[in-house]
Symmetry: C2
Subunit: 679 residues, 2 copies
């Protein structure tokens, strides 16, 4: 039950908001290796604030002793008076008091744990990195720092400080092993992630990891490898296969692994099952792909890049709302991607990824209703949007500058990426509308709606081709690039910037037009298929899911891939970026059926933030039956549909079930069994 707040205040570790994520993010992103070399990201890595002050006021009926623990050197001020040293405990007298702790820690985020009878450190405390308190000639203190609520999570014991945070592990054995050449090949049966353990190692062993058998056996080209000595801790790796060779006079007894995973609550998870076993398998492999890529943060792929990427993450968040509803991992990833001011580049240096970052906050609010997080992030949303706005052209449109990466997608056809791209403008529009929504929620001044309308109006003038009923690709220095791709056109449907008739025209002219270059990454197929679902094309989409994701399963996939081109053969499926095993075979963006099946087949989504109201529009397509659960902030919605009835039950919110042109109100904690009558 992720969103419930504990009614009894309890002591927990606190820190400055965002600092844990910035620090943990550096640990996380810097764990990537490539053939034994560490491989930090290309973008700026920030640090936590090294010195943070935490404070609260208390009103005690009687004196009480507080127990004090800090990560870092600290001081303690009671009612403005500094106390000696760094005490483990302190007796606070009865009455009204002000408590201030200042903690300094260069290596890990300054954090504090205070536990008394009634005094407990938690997010009711204030934090600042700049108290601006100064003393006048009479020794009187003045201050004007900016204080924010301290951050907390689940570090509720004195001996579980934030810096000790680790994911749990589980010992696992290989399912097969085979002697090949001078070494031994181990197979763990499916894609996995964790720490290989060599027991009884004497001497030196060489480990070659493979997501495929071919990769593990290709010592010269496998993407990750280790040279290991006795008692050496290995870093975590992604693999299904491990090929081990020992040096002369070296040997070991056996090989196993510690599988590392992010724990989740099975009872608060989404499920999906239906009459088509292939679809069930696709959902299961999608869920496993999501579980492997959901870690301290949502990462792109477990072999590569092992970094947080905003464009990948927004899809993980959406899938997660239909799978584990791990809102803490969503918040951590959003915070970590944003980092600290000043903004010196787009998120991940990619312009599109900046815009997805904004949109992900809108999604988060819609699924969780958590206004506190919007309030926390809003100042950083403003400074990031300032960065974007400072770089717009004279029309108020965005163009890639020399140091901007314009990504869009990995495409197999030539695509112009300079000047004004329709795709980027549509994403920019949505980012501005997100600012508008959040500004309105927080009662802040809102220049954003007008800016957003200008963006769409100008882009329409420049790049909407009325004859073709399609958005053209780009304009650079007055010259239009007339290429028509699915990218801007599907986002025009998704982000609702054209009327319904035009959307239908776009489906015909672009989305279902065989002359338009096909999309070959699951990344953009996510949006392509979502747009088709929004246009009521679930039956075709279901067939696409069977073909495309089913195609990966037929190729032996045990998790979904970064990219899949059906007509490729054999080891061609493993190559990417000019490297024979460059492709990631476990990529979060590969798992989109988890989202599509929950949202457009079970058909459940919030219509007001946090499922205060929600709708179910189940769509059986060609299936005999389907059944599943969708998690909501404080419970689940269960739905089963057969040809002749729908069963539904929810734990919260006012629901509405749509069946054809009929609709039914769904109250929580009530079982509904609704016959489907032929119209």
């Amino acid at each position: 039950m992720a969103m419930t707040s504990n009614p009894m205040p309890h002591a927990t570790w606190i820190w400055y908001p965002g600092d844990f994520e910035v620090w943990l993010g550096n640990q996380f992103n810097n764990r990537r290796t490539e053939r034994g070399a560490m491989f930090p990201p290309f973008w700026k890595q920030d640090s936590h604030w090294p010195t943070v002050e935490f404070s609260t006021t208390v009103e005690l009926a009687e004196a009480e002793t507080i127990h004090i623990k800090a990560e870092g050197l600290f001081n303690f001020m009671l009612d403005g008076k500094l106390q000696f040293g760094m005490p483990d405990e302190f007796l606070i007298p009865a009455g009204a008091h002000r408590l201030n702790f200042k903690v300094w820690n260069q290596s890990t985020p300054p954090a504090l744990f205070i536990k008394g009878m009634t005094i407990h450190s938690n997010s009711s405390w204030l934090a600042t990195y700049e108290d601006k308190i100064w003393i006048d000639e009479n020794g009187v203190a003045h201050g004007s720092g900016i204080y924010v609520p301290a951050a907390q999570w689940n570090f509720d014991r004195m001996d579980t400080p934030p810096s000790a945070y680790r994911l749990p592990t589980l010992r696992q054995e290989p399912v097969a092993q085979e002697s090949i050449g001078e070494g031994m090949l181990y197979d763990f049966g499916r894609e996995t992630f964790g720490y290989v353990r060599l027991s009884g190692l004497v001497g030196v062993a060489h480990l070659y990891y493979g997501e495929s058998r071919e990769e593990a056996l290709d010592k010269d080209h496998c993407e990750t490898l280790d040279v290991v000595s006795p008692h050496q801790e290995l870093g975590s790796k992604a693999f299904r296969y491990v090929y081990v060779e020992t040096a002369d006079n070296s040997h070991y007894d056996s090989l196993s692994m510690d599988y590392e995973y992010a724990p989740y609550d099975e009872s608060h998870s989404g499920t999906f099952a239906c009459s088509d076993k292939l679809l069930n398998k696709i959902w299961e492999v999608g869920a496993y792909t999501m579980d492997l890529t959901t870690r301290e943060f949502f990462l792109d792929g477990i072999k590569r890049d092992r970094w947080t990427w905003s464009g990948d993450a927004i899809q993980s968040y959406l899938m997660n709302y239909y799978l584990r509803f791990d809102t803490e991992c969503v918040k951590r990833t959003i915070r970590q991607l944003r980092g600290k001011d000043p903004v010196t580049a787009h998120i991940n240096t990619i312009m599109d990824y900046t815009f997805y970052w904004f949109k992900s906050i809108l999604d988060y609010y819609q699924y969780t209703g958590d206004l506190t997080f919007i309030s926390e992030m809003y100042p950083k949303m403003c400074t990031l949007m300032d960065y974007v706005l400072e770089r717009t052209n004279s029309d108020g449109l965005v163009e890639g500058k020399a140091d901007d990466w314009i990504f869009v997608d990995w495409v197999d056809f030539p695509m112009h990426k300079r000047g004004v791209l329709a795709f980027e403008q549509i994403l920019f529009y949505k980012a501005l509308m997100t600012m508008h929504t959040c500004a309105t929620l927080l009662h802040q001044t809102d220049p954003y709606q007008q800016l957003a309308e200008n963006v769409i109006c100008k882009t329409r003038q420049l790049l909407w081709n009325d004859d073709c009923q399609a958005w053209e690709h780009a304009i650079e220095e007055g010259e239009i690039n007339h290429q028509i791709t699915k990218f801007p056109n599907m986002f025009a449907i998704l982000y609702d910037i054209v009327d319904d008739a035009t959307k239908r025209n776009i489906v015909d002219s672009v989305m279902e037009n065989n002359k338009i270059d096909p999309i070959t990454t699951p990344y953009m197929r996510f949006y392509e298929l979502e747009a088709l679902c929004m246009m009521g094309k679930q039956t075709q989409v279901l067939q696409e899911i069977r073909n495309y994701w089913g195609g990966m399963l037929r190729e032996g996939a045990t998790s979904f891939w970064e990219k899949y081109i059906p007509f490729e053969q054999g080891t061609e499926h493993l190559a990417m970026y000019g490297r024979p095993y460059g492709k990631s075979l476990c990529h979060a963006w590969g798992a989109s059926p988890v989202y599509l099946l929950g949202r457009y087949f079970l058909g459940i989504q919030p219509t007001q933030p946090g499922y205060a109201t929600w709708e179910a529009r189940p769509y059986l397509a060609d299936l005999e039956w389907m059944e599943g659960r969708v998690p909501t902030p404080n419970g689940i919605i269960h739905i089963r549909m057969e040809r002749h009835y729908v069963c539904i039950r929810s734990d919260e919110g006012r629901g509405r079930l749509y069946l054809g042109n009929r609709c039914f109100d769904i109250e929580p904690h009530t079982d509904y069994h609704i016959p489907i009558t032929s119209v």
Copy 2:
């Protein structure tokens, strides 16, 4: 010889510019304690960039092995290809190559040391915290990071990394000890700084430090104290006296100290001696005060606050140019005070201190001619000035906002500090003119001169009282505060914003007007006396120095104080901020005679940056003779004056000696003996 660059390239540790200072500054500023509690500053503390990339290109006639050492985890890329692990050495083949190292270190600044036959890490290498390199679908790397020259200093050996930097120490013994009450009082003979050592301690000892005997013996009110157990390392403290009590069953053998100091080059130091022994003593105690407060950075006072304060530091820099010419300490302090972007407050949160920070860069350039440093700092000057300009009022003038500290001085009379203060505008003007100078030097766009002229023009309209020939104090919401203080008026002389006739009028109407409230801190006496010297009032100033600084010596000072009010009695001299020993008895700003005697009596100053040209205007006043040396970037200027002649010799620059209305060109490396003829 601080400014000469080594003609032979050598290997030295490198890091990202400013990171060493940011990191060291946190160590430094957080060492302050108050009665056993740590006491970090009120302002934001920043961090070094945790991940930094260093790169160079080489052209090798033959292969060579490089030795590699990093502070942090690192990777190494040769010609764009990542190499395995973290090698200690690597053979670089003959030919042209590109070397990239990426170093990650959360705790201390990422730093690198590379030493080969011809390949050496030094500031010819480039550094970036954001390489923005990305790989396209074909695996081709693109990049657009911002690269700057790597920083270096004197860490020239592999085993002397930047994070190991410590000042040297020297064991010293107390000059007297006296049994008092239950304990023992030790006297080190004069103000000192370092680490007390208790040898043979069994049990627990309580140490009470005193800059005065009274403070050390006042266990309940002394500002610093320690409770020490065997083998416990004590932090550094400022003291002359230490009072030691042992707990029951505790004892020790003896007490000594390790005096900690910043090394300097005696042959490259300023000196002053004259026929007046009191002045000689004042200069010596001033020099000792400067030596005690010149450390990793220039600090305000060694007991308190032990922080870098910009207003204090700019005076230290100026004194330093006439004493040790430690330009590295100047640069370190300027970098450390500025910290990192974004700017969230004035330097030290004080508006005036922001303006002094700018002015200190102008001074630095004038004394050293070091354009490289201007170039390094200019981007941070711009962002700080942006912060100031965003907060100006509709007239373009600065007013203190709620979170700005308007300091001016510790005054003993009421002083209004809101609205538009003439004092702050004049400092703002000089900051803008500093921007103008630096922008011009670096060929940057320059909006600053016009802004500066507007500030003075508007301030003159609002606050110049022509009848009184004085600047009035302030205007707030249209209402003028007619108070006349020395502060804006002396800075109008110092910063040359009025014509010579007006300057003379200001001397009469304000500076030598007994009705104006006197200045009681050596801090502002620095500027007061400098302004009088600029107006040719050296004879009066010399008498003031004898009275004021001689007054402190008569009170037993062994270093100069934070504040001195001649009519106070006994222990009144020790109190400040409402605390009986709150006053710092060793305060850098107390040492201004070191500057005044060098600049306005020996009379030497650069007239073009770095002493390319300089002038000597020696002023004997009532002295029989005086003699001294002034350091220049690559040498010294020696001057001796008696009533009938001047001797002068310099190591560099084109000098000009002014004697009455005569002047003489002074070429370097030449002894001049110039008779003074009565006019």
